[in-house]
């Protein structure tokens, strides 16, 4: 009797400690989840906080006199002359006119830096389009230089010592004067969405990289979807249980876990050096990403095929369809939503991938917007990588903005996959 009460006493004595341990353990778990979510929100908040300003760009209004003597001294209005004329000189002359008090060469050079080098291209386009403008005084809004843009957005501290700043005191004074004259305005940054890459942040855009991503993904989709579905159909429905089939399955499982950069090495050695395909082209990028996403698509497609109940197959076979007919007309249509979901997820992976593309030369600095799968180009994630390496402050916000665009695409694709699954999911 006494022995029994001693046991219960021990249990009771330890109870408080055990309860405390229980609570502690629970809290550890909650803390772990909270930490993960904090990291996630920190990531998103920091990207958005750094990037949202890139969607606006400051423009300055200048009144340019299209001087016929400078542009077209012979007055023939030939395109060859007009397209090579010194439009930069026009912009400089305009700036000198706006600030006549600027005399010394050093000050003038600083003055010229207020306006983006893109201004002269813009005027050139206008003149080429309408040669009538020559001899007139036109007022145009042109982008300001990236450093000035940073100043206007508050990323450069006006109160820091002048030597620490990229923007000098005099430039600040000029900018303030322009602001008071209401000649500086913030506008939606269309350049960012329509231009290719550039060394000047204010002229750099993501359209070139987006087009490269598009062509790469198209190649990937065209190749990986049919191949992936065919492989899944064979392995799930037709393959006999033998060594060869086992070997294929082992290979697929391992390929799913091979580091992506190794696929890049494969692309470099096989597609570029052996088959002599063009470097930096979306076609090679698409091929490499196809090999990389195939395991994902095959595994998802097999799961989709597995979820089609055997009764469907048996019914089709029972009324005399051949196994291939059963497959094509009955099982495949039912498995298609699942396969599409897997493919979209694989495509999202491919869209975010950059390491293997570095290997096959898609890191080049490319200004032109690619027109097809054989043109040299880069892709969005690689563009982000390139901009992240650039020292200019203005590229930090553009990198973040490009990341926001990329994430928006990824979220859309994943949402589409989830919707597809919800819409067509069937419980048998």
């Amino acid at each position: 009797m006494s022995k029994k009460s001693r046991t219960i006493d021990i249990v009771r004595a330890g109870m408080k400690k055990r309860k405390a341990a229980e609570t502690r353990f629970r809290l550890y778990g909650l803390a772990a989840i909270a930490l993960g979510l904090i990291f996630l929100s920190l990531l998103f908040v920091s990207i958005v906080a750094n990037g949202y300003t890139a969607f606006a760009q400051s423009y300055v209004e200048i009144e340019v006199y299209i001087d016929p003597d400078r542009i077209d001294p012979e007055g023939k209005r030939e395109d060859s002359v007009l397209s090579r004329a010194d439009y930069g000189g026009l912009v400089k002359a305009t700036l000198r006119e706006m600030f006549p008090e600027v005399r010394s060469r050093r000050d003038k050079r600083q003055l010229y830096r207020l306006v983006s080098t893109g201004a002269s291209y813009e005027i050139r386009e206008m003149v080429l389009e309408d040669p009538e403008l020559i001899g007139q005084k036109i007022s145009v809004w042109v982008p300001v230089d990236d450093e000035i843009d940073m100043l206007l957005k508050g990323h450069i501290d006006r109160n820091s010592p002048e030597a620490d700043r990229r923007v000098k005191d005099k430039q600040i004074a000029w900018v303030d004067k322009l602001i008071s004259e209401e000649k500086i305005e913030k506008r939606f940054n269309t350049i960012f969405f329509t231009a290719g890459d550039s060394r000047d942040p204010e002229l750099a855009g993501i359209w070139g990289a987006a087009a490269g991503s598009f062509f790469t993904l198209i190649v990937t989709l065209i190749l990986s979807f049919p191949i992936g579905v065919a492989a899944a159909v064979y392995l799930e429905e037709f393959a006999p249980q033998n060594r060869f089939t086992d070997f294929i399955e082992v290979n697929i499982n391992n390929l799913a876990a091979v580091p992506s950069i190794v696929f890049g090495l494969l692309g470099l050695a096989v597609f570029i050096n052996f088959f002599g395909m063009p470097r930096s082209a979306p076609i090679v990028g698409g091929l490499v990403l196809t090999l990389m996403t195939l395991p994902t698509i095959i595994i998802a497609s097999r799961a989709a095929l597995k979820s089609v109940p055997p009764s469907i197959r048996e019914a089709a076979l029972g009324i005399g369809a051949s196994p291939m007919q059963t497959m094509v007309y009955h099982v495949l249509p039912l498995a298609m939503p699942g396969m599409l979901t897997g493919t979209i997820i694989g495509m999202a992976q491919a869209l975010g991938e950059s390491a293997p593309l570095l290997m096959i030369g898609m890191v080049a600095f490319i200004v032109d917007i690619p027109q097809g799968a054989f043109d040299p180009s880069t892709v969005l994630p690689v563009q982000i990588y390139l901009w992240a390496d650039s020292p200019e402050r203005a590229f930090v916000e553009r990198t973040s903005a490009a990341i926001m665009v990329l994430l928006a695409f990824l979220i859309t694709m994943n949402a589409l996959a989830v919707m597809l699954r919800k819409r067509f999911e069937r419980r048998w």
Partner: protein, 460 residues
């Protein structure tokens, strides 16, 4: 774009063959479809296959070997003194010829010989394409016509078509094998060339890594040391830090989600955590450079520690965040696979929930968790973008996480991006590193998959 036009013509002809074959089947059946062995569409497909596939095979083989043959012919046509200058410079000349043909900028002045060679090249390409077009079109028409004339009532068209389809399915499945083979061969061949120049032992056990090889004999400052130990050490250091972050957080959140959380909490928290897995690695790299590395440096400066701006800690920490969902979803699976009877048994003996988890469920799930962690380690080792952006380039042999270290993947990227000659030890070293990476991750994966499968069998 003459070739793509040829492909389109091929496609049109095949469709035509399909239509004709179907019609022909109707004809031979004399209006009685049930006399036919297969449905009429199968006769169409049968004709289309015979019409298109042989031509397509010829087409691909031709395209694959055309550049090499034409280049050889052009080289054979070059003057003797040009041919005798050795393969490297000959390659340059060939490149120039190709650039000239495509209207690009060449690296030298265009002289008569070069222009002549370019014209030769151009004419060869034109001839080759014209010949290809003739061959392919003739083949299409001949095979199509023969097949068409042979369509009979008792012909087993469906069986043939299905055999061809099965063949295509098998080919598509074998691409996985071909890929593995391609990876192994491409890294192996280049690595063997590398190890001919640098002994394997120097590579595996050398303590110094500075891959700048001399281009000229008299160049200074290019030692060309290829000892990979600092890279291995750096990779392991960063992976270790990543695991120290990812394993506790991932495991504890998996335990909470599967054992404690109510369904609603689970349904929101789990997908949110999995977003971390869907974020591209380049974004993590930018995050590390922009936020984490400066924060760690400032924090270190506060307590008087000197932290490198490309510290292993920053890269490892961010990589750990990336791997959290990987660890948590794998652990979640194995924890859920532990039979309910074991939990009930423990509760019946009076254990609290946490005691059950720590003393019953965790030991039971341990093999599966270990397998998951091994997979995560292989992910960490192969991860590229985060370390390329956030870790350093200099190969320090150190265990101090506050210093900059470099990794295998960083070195592969730096060795292979930018223009360099493909034969130098420097670029070949990248393939040797790739081989190491492939072997190590493959081994880890095989072990991990084996452990996980073994564990699953135990409870099924």
């Amino acid at each position: 774009m003459q070739l793509s036009f040829l492909l389109v013509v091929l496609l049109v002809l095949s469709s035509l063959a399909f239509y004709l074959g179907k019609k022909r089947a109707f004809q031979v059946s004399q209006g009685q479809i049930r006399n036919l062995h297969s449905l009429p569409a199968y006769y169409g497909l049968y004709t289309a296959i015979w019409c298109g596939i042989p031509a397509l095979i010829i087409f691909s083989v031709w395209i694959a070997f055309e550049p090499a043959i034409i280049t050889n012919l052009v080289v054979a046509g070059l003057p003797d003194e040009v041919r005798s200058i050795g393969p490297d410079r000959l390659n340059l000349i060939i490149n120039d010829i190709k650039n000239l043909v495509e209207g690009n900028i060449t690296s030298r002045d265009v002289d008569e010989n070069l222009q002549a060679a370019a014209d030769h090249y151009q004419s060869l390409v034109t001839t080759s394409h014209a010949a290809l077009a003739v061959v392919v079109l003739c083949l299409t028409i001949v095979t199509g016509a023969i097949t068409l004339s042979r369509i009979k009532v008792k012909q087993r068209a469906r069986n043939t078509v299905e055999k061809v389809m099965t063949g295509i399915l098998i080919f598509c499945s074998s691409i996985a094998i071909l890929t593995t083979l391609g990876i192994v061969l491409s890294v192996l061949f280049e690595s063997i060339r590398f190890f001919r120049e640098i002994p394997l032992t120097d590579f595996l056990f050398g303590l110094e890594w500075s891959p700048q090889t001399a281009i000229r004999e008299d160049q200074v400052g290019s030692s060309g040391a290829f000892g990979a130990v600092p890279l291995f050490a750096g990779t392991m250091l960063i992976s270790l830090i990543a695991m120290l972050v990812a394993v506790p957080i991932g495991l504890l959140s998996a335990i909470y989600l599967s054992e404690y959380a109510n369904p609603r909490f689970r349904a929101t928290a789990k997908p949110l955590l999995e977003i971390l897995a869907g974020i591209p690695t380049v974004v993590y790299g930018f995050f590390a450079v922009l936020i984490v590395a400066p924060a760690i440096r400032d924090a270190g400066g506060y307590i008087g520690l000197d932290v490198a701006s490309e510290s292993a800690l920053a890269a490892g920490l961010v990589m750990g965040i990336m791997i959290i969902p990987f660890v948590s979803s794998l652990s979640d699976d194995v924890i859920n696979a532990v039979p309910q009877a074991m939990r009930d048994g423990a509760y019946g003996l009076g254990a609290t929930q946490s005691e059950t988890i720590r003393k019953v469920i965790f030991p039971a799930a341990l093999p599966g968790i270990v397998g998951g962690v091994l997979l995560a380690v292989s992910r960490a080792i192969g991860e590229t973008m985060i370390v390329v952006m956030a870790a350093g380039l200099s190969a320090n042999l150190t265990a101090n996480p506050l210093e900059a270290v470099t990794t295998v993947t960083v070195q592969i990227v730096t060795l292979l991006t930018g223009d360099q000659e493909f034969d130098s030890a420097k670029t070949l070293a990248a393939f040797a590193l790739g081989l190491m990476l492939f072997v190590v991750t493959l081994t880890l994966n095989v072990i991990a998959l084996h452990v996980v499968r073994k564990y699953r069998e135990q409870y099924e």
